[in-house]
Amino acid sequence: MKLTGAQIVIQSLIKEGVNIIFGLPGGAIIDVYDALYDSPIKHILVRHEQAAIHAADGYARATGRVGVAMVTSGPGATNTVTGLATAYMDSIPIVVFTGQVPTKLIGNDAFQEADIVGITRPCTKHNFLVKDVNELAKTIKEAFYIAGSGRPGPVLIDLPKDVQQAKAEFEYPKEVRLAGYNPKYKAHIGQVKKAAQLIASARRPVIYAGGGVIYSKGANEELRRLAEGFSMPVTNTLMGLGGFPGDHPLWLGMLGMHGTYRANMAVIHCDVLIGIGARFDDRVTGKLEEFAPDAKIVHIDIDPASISKNVIVDVPIVGDCRDALLKLNQALSNINIDWEDKHRDWLEQIEEWKKEHVLSYSQPEGGPLKPQYVIEKLYELTKGKAIVSTEVGQNQMWTAQYYKFDRPRTFLTSGGLGTMGYGFPAAIGAQAAFPEKLVIDIAGDGSIQMNIQELATAVSYRLPVKVAILNNGYLGMVRQWQQLFYRGRYSQTSLEYSPDFVKLAEAYGAVGLRATKPDEVEATIKDALSKDVPVFIDFVIEREENVYPMVPAGAPLSHMLLV
């Protein structure tokens, strides 16, 4: 039997095991929405297309499966760009369907036409314009395969309206064959042995683990074996948080611009750095020339282009993190060394650094509320078991510093692109995936306003996301930079005229709570956690609290501002 293109889309999604999609309809995608009407797939109607992409992204990060979003042509499609770029920078597998004007009108500046394939080429892993309904099922199969394999990423499929309406026999391909795409999963054993020898020669090794450890299933367990088995300390990137237990004695905390003193000191002084599924981003390395100056570098990554891109690597290992770590652990256990004894001095030195400076703040009793205190209380009262998303800026860095993640896929944050407005829709996506789990978005008063309309989505689908707004009345991170590096000239960073977030939540049919003093925090959080509906908590915090430590942009890691 022949199906329409629109029906083929829905049937293909079912074949892919998709049970939830995020989107917003329009004229150029209306046929697919018509086919969706009788399908078992659940659809979450967002209030802005950007949120659909972030929600699909949050769903993908929390579950490890490919997230799916659907929007119309023109403005619907262009509204996906920020979400796609966010997913692209953080290697998140999503497939986005955009409606398109009929093929005959393409290029004619038709109503709601945008060259979305052209626009999103640099911010997708790959994209497709389907011009023939006979190619549709194959294209969808390829899109899911490309999105979820190798180094994952977003894929966009542009669907002209006439292709949605045309008919073809439906047969979903069993396998994909792409001449130009063959991700390499198996780590080269020769390279692994070289790495093992280098590590055996090290006196001061450090493991630097990123998002790859999260995305490669089971890699976190191998990472733990590597650290514990061979007595080596671990630091995580922002994207890597949760890849190693945040309360483990071998954990150094996050490194980089807002990393801990001991993590950055360890990187500065190490003699072998083992990079795993990380990409030596500028927020991690600081001034490149002075990054890990004494270290030989081992780099495990599934993307060959990530290796020696910023930092020249001594032993590259291309492959899946778990496979590489499994082999590395094997190779190291064949070497007869008393690792604990060998690294004792080094670990003692790290303890010294920990004594010299540890993350801290002081919460004056009855005094202005400190954001770090709020996050520590959130950690304590959720027993560290929540799925936590963040927005971007100070809220994100305080969360990274004070919420101790111990499992993969529990921390959802826009690391690479740094997208304000990401956290709330991402939390909605994660909550839709796990209705029973506790999902919290830790936000700032600036970022939450960038997708605040999604309160309607959360309320209407009864997705009981909790949003903790750290409200300091500023675009806080920019203000911090202005205070520290621009002579306190607070150019356009004050947000004195924000809405009343409590009333706003109530206006949407959610619950709004507020805490302004330290002794209100615990009760307010407990109150919020007891409610099975979306809750906004307005934490009115000290206005000019800063995130420390801080390495000024472009400076070497040794130039940490501590306080």
């Binding site: 080429r121 790959h126 314009l129 001449a179 130009g180 282009a305 891109k309 020249i312």
Partner: protein
């Protein structure tokens, strides 16, 4: 350093845009670029000339390899290869210089493909050095216009990477 990179790509719309976008988006240079179908109409060959230090060239090749529609990337500067470029040069041919221009064209095994009272249009083929030398010589007579194809190249036999259907 100058590198000639040969790409086998799927012959579908948008592939050239992906390649060009990669270069512009990442700040790489393209000196010249040539695209045409191979024996297999489903596959095109893009020959591009670029420059950069070792690390940049390495990145260029890796990033090109990541593009889904690119089937094969070969750096011809690393292996034995032959390179050619063609140019059409419209040069002022005053009566007193006509004979000399023809002699130069002859020495370089070029060809005059269009003649007018004031101009010759000359076709010349060769590697980059030969073309450069030829253009320098003609410059004395005033070149009005020039059109160059950019470099095309193939590995020397035996070391060739095979195109489907090409033996």
């Amino acid at each position: 350093m100058r590198h000639t990179i040969s790409l086998l790509v799927e012959n579908i719309p948008g592939v050239l845009a992906r390649v060009a976008g990669l270069f512009s988006g990442r700040g790489f240079n393209i000196e010249s670029l040539c695209v045409a179908e191979t024996i297999d109409p489903k596959i095109s060959r893009i020959t591009l000339v670029t420059n950069g230090d070792e690390q940049i060239i390495e990145q260029i090749k890796k990033q090109l390899n990541k593009l889904i529609n690119i089937i094969k990337v070969v750096d011809l500067s690393e292996i034995e290869s032959v390179e050619r470029e063609m140019a059409l040069i419209k040069v002022r041919a005053a009566p007193e210089h006509r004979a000399e221009i023809l002699r130069i064209v002859d020495i370089f095994r070029g060809k005059v493909v269009d003649v007018s009272p004031d101009y010759y249009t000359v076709e010349i083929t060769g590697d980059a050095n030969k073309l450069q030398a030829f253009i320098e010589l003609l410059r004395h007579f005033r070149i009005k216009e020039i059109a160059r194809t950019g470099t095309v190249a193939l590995p020397r036999a035996r070391k060739a990477f095979k195109e489907k259907g090409e033996e």
